[in-house]
Chain length 371, copies 4
């Protein structure tokens, strides 16, 4: 009997989930069958229309109905961040597996509650840190594990977009701490943390600072301006448990950056670099061979970098953003079928999100924060 998917949300991430669940089985030959069982959005007729487009069997305007449906085995949550907790707890309570978009919740406490509930219930979970499913990222991890760049000693990470760069952009709920939680740290920074920890291991402590660039924004109705309550930029200097250090920097007000998510791992024998806006490339420098021929090499991902080959047998043909989501889904389905944890499950994701909240605390309290 195929696994039943219940998807809540049909926006950017909702569509991404729908496409990925549609594609995964055909891309990978080894996955359990999935039924696109039930799609939820409001109003209900939007849910109906998108269910037809995405190929879901039925639709609803009530997420609690979705969570309760016996047709649904996986609840996929792609709603605004402030709704994740209630939906996830309900789904867990109903014994469903949960696929939740990042960040898990507005506060670390809420995320911790979700993690505890999932652990206790024994359901499978995964959080949508899709960039770490990139074959290029997996290859970076393998190179490090294989000692190719020696011991990792320093990390540099940047994640920038420009969706809040325009000073005259209207105020939205995203700027309100009670509704949106953190600013760029929650939207972007946590992705970078998922990479940093995946490459360098856990962080131990940090110092940080944050900045609100645009202190107020005009209200859309022309009635004045309202305060921006969460950070436009954040910067942190981390100490990892391994003894290495590193920096994380993020801005949602960085003109010209559309999906910049760059990292460098400096090792004692070489260096690895990556840039999400060129997500099919990996930079590698190794201190080997004649010095006169050394240089950073640009590795184009291909079938030598699993699971690229499941999409295309020819190197350099490029995966896209949607393909990363498909890999994430495949990994979740395998975990469900095999009974082992997916990555990153709620527990791993909680670790990532602890870092962004620690950055916020360090910046507000002006002190080193231990993790």
């Amino acid at each position: 009997m195929a696994i039943g998917l219940g998807l809540i949300g049909t926006g950017f991430m909702g569509k991404a989930h729908a496409l990925a669940y549609r594609a995964a089985g055909a891309v990978f030959g080894d996955l359990p069958d999935v039924r696109l069982a039930l799609l939820c959005d409001t109003p209900a007729d939007r849910a109906e229309a998108m269910a037809r487009q995405f190929g879901f069997q039925s639709a609803t305007g009530h997420w609690r109905a979705l969570v309760a449906s016996p047709d649904v085995d996986i609840v996929s949550i792609t709603t605004p961040n402030g709704l994740h907790k209630e939906m996830a707890l309900a789904a867990i309570a109903a014994g469903k597996h949960v696929h939740c978009e990042k960040p898990m919740a507005l506060t670390l406490e809420d995320a911790a509650a979700m993690e505890a509930a999932a652990r206790k219930a024994g359901v499978s979970t995964i959080v949508g840190y899709n960039y770490i499913h990139n074959p290029a990222f997996a290859h970076a991890r393998r190179l490090i594990a294989g000692g190719v760049i020696g011991r990792p000693v320093h990390f540099r990470g940047i994640v920038d977009e420009d969706y809040q760069a325009d000073p005259e952009l209207a105020w939205t709920w995203r700027a309100k701490r009670a509704d949106a939680g953190l600013g760029t740290l929650g939207d972007l920074g946590c992705h970078l943390v998922s990479m940093a920890c995946g490459l360098m291991g856990p962080a131990e402590s940090l110092v940080a600072d944050t900045q609100i660039i645009h202190e107020t924004r005009p209200l859309a109705d022309g009635s004045g301006r309202a305060a921006v309550e969460n950070e436009d930029t954040a910067s942190a200097i981390l100490r990892f448990a391994s003894g290495a250090q590193g920096t994380l920097v993020t801005s949602r007000s960085a003109w010209g950056r559309k999906n910049r998510l760059d990292f460098e791992v400096h090792g004692t024998k070489g260096m690895i670099g990556f840039s999400q806006e060129r997500m099919n490339e990996l930079q590698l420098f190794v201190d080997e061979g004649e010095r006169s021929r050394q240089g950073f090499r640009t590795i184009l991902t291909g079938p030598e970098h699993p699971p690229y080959g499941a999409f295309c047998p020819a190197a350099g043909h490029q995966l896209g953003f949607g393909d990363l989501k498909t890999i994430e889904v495949a990994s979740f389905l395998r975990a469900i079928a095999g009974g082992q944890p997916a990555h990153p499950d709620f527990s791993a994701a909680l670790g990532f999100e602890a870092v962004i909240h620690a950055i916020d605390v360090s910046a507000r309290e002006g002190r080193r924060v231990q993790l």
Copy 2:
């Protein structure tokens, strides 16, 4: 009643078609419904297995059965090039719409026969020149049409891969003219032509040269070496009907190139550049504003470059190779539904392929060839 797809072949392109037909409707909300009706490959049990993976309703080991099936409205042909003609003619004779991979056929005569049959039968056709469906390419065309770079006066195109770069790679049927037709021109060069003509208009005449780099290759069974009969590289200098000139260069023996498909259009006011290995970027130089601030700009594709937004509402998140095939499929389905020709249909594709055969003739006969 949904349009029934019959797909022949489950290799690189077969899988690409299957994934694209699965995805297209969910990506685009405005397409006619498609049923994945029948999948053909040999042996039949491979067809069965892949039908299960890809989600086809049934499978067969006999392509003629597929072509004859009343369940099938579109015949999608992804077999080796030498088989296209027979299959396409049979499908046309059965009144099916035909989606054929490029190149259409081994010879221009065969391609012309296919085109004539399709035209006479009035079926819809499309040929798999998927790179021209890239939103970046569409944007390049719009920029030119809008006069942004002035009158296009010069074209530069390169298409390189390295799948035949290794001198000790075993001989295969690809090296045999009777079985494979042209060499790099058929595999790669025709893609470049599809771009050149789409940007510059039709070519009028050309001079060219070709080269066999590896004159023999070892037989796989160790019994000696066999001759390579078709070109490893080809170079041509074109005159377009517009009066512009341009160069096309291709190699299948270009170490390090995985899917290089680069073009430049030089205009009287600016220049556009593109590189398939960075397929989400477009280079643009325009002679405007202060000289001290001029420079090539790297445009990252996004929702401003349709139909990127159907995949993702955020710029810079990257489409992949598979997404191009999905756009191609969408364009074919719209054409079928609307009754107008798809692009490139057999007629347009015949025009592209006339150019690669003219390059071959020019090289062999040492003379300018008119198109």
Copy 3:
């Protein structure tokens, strides 16, 4: 009467100064004449040999003789950093103008003493922060001053090399705090500060961390290992007086980086980026014109970016490292002739170096440091 140059040192920087003083007058038509009067190095016969090569009128093995020589108007100091202070104070006492390599001294106190002495004596001074003489840097400053990217709100800076990346490199005096002072901050970090302050204005406070990657290094004589006492990497988060924030990161152990000195200035209307390893390029993004055509543009420096044109009337022909030194020399000679301060004189350079020492203090004491 031509200005007499006395140059101390014939190594990397010594040669750079010699070549620059030789070239400056011929490159720029508006400079006072310079005589290459006296060259000092030890042993004296090295000084003799290099004086012949560089075209100096005479040579000496004694720097105090050079400082005292009535033939010498400018004392150019390119010796190891620990010697700068004594030489500069002697030169100032003798009424000479002083051209000193960076950093000014091992400690901030020593640098401050040099600055006070020069100010009191009224001699002209300049410190060898040559990268800020790049026409590309000057252009970045002009773009910011002209409001092209709006209000500068965020800064990112990286300066990396790999001369201490190899774990098995022998221990040298560079690793000893008493002899070398700071580590990567003194060698590299201060260059980055000179750029950061030039673009963003003065820094106000910072938090920082540093790291010794290779805690010991083998002694060259094979007798064991000795401790590395100064930092291999340093990271800081700055608050500028303007209210902007920014990060500075540096490593002398970053494999593959040869002279990476990169910055970004994020503004409210656009962004500027620069990379020293491509020193003839400037990246510029401005939020103007149609969104579909926006992108980072690569500006190649040329005559529109003074004083590039003094070297070459054609854009894109590339200046080199030596040319930056020539511009620095020209700027110093103009200051001497005109009686106004050069940039950066001891006073400005002291401001730069206060920042690297503040980073060191913050890292050692674990607290925010005010500047």
Copy 4:
């Protein structure tokens, strides 16, 4: 007794020669001494002024006086191309060594006459193909000679600028065949040939086409328009004596290109790429090591790439255009001192220029031209 330099011309190239002859001895420790003896330009007072700036001992308004002067051993010719022949023949007749800018002359016949005269007279000659003196180019040659990329089998070359891109730029003598000779081939194309032949060996035959983009240009006095008589673009497909093929393409009307001079050498084991606008980098791909780690590497030139180290002991610090001229001068001075031919002397340069004239002939006569 130092070698006396007589330099004719103080424009772009004149200044480049002056700076290079000033610098060469100080950069390289092993060169014969040079005196900047005599500078010629018209009017004479310009020559006087520039002689003061450049440091020449005297000046003249009459080039024949310079050629005749017993103070002059080398005659350096940087005047418009149409004057080279007469000046060079006079200098040779006077027994002087000749340093001539490229191209040697307006016609191949004139260049041949110059070559014959120099050979007969036994004087040393060199032609200003400065780009081949780049340490990166020398390294490319060494890599090929050392078999690193296997047998060179294919060449791609492009040289583009935009100084004739603007359709409304005024007509000048450069557009007149009698005064300027070839168009982009003479200005730019011959540089590319010097690289192609240096990397691939001599060319054997070619087919080509050329194009005049802007058929007329406005006269500066507003009195109408005049015809452009020489090519804006040229394209050629070459067969080298080695059996390899390659393409050369050039445009003087390529918007945004300031000094693009790019080549690729495809070999049986790897590939080398170079781009003059990033002249301190070399791209190298070698089919070695694990496929999953292969990629084009960017080699930054440094002391491992002689004679970079003569300018700077630290890699990645960047040479500039002027430094290439300094290397050219050093190579000429060594040749004069040692009695062996410099490279490229008139004989080698004649070989380069035969190729651009062959391209012109092939384009005009529509036939393959043997070299």
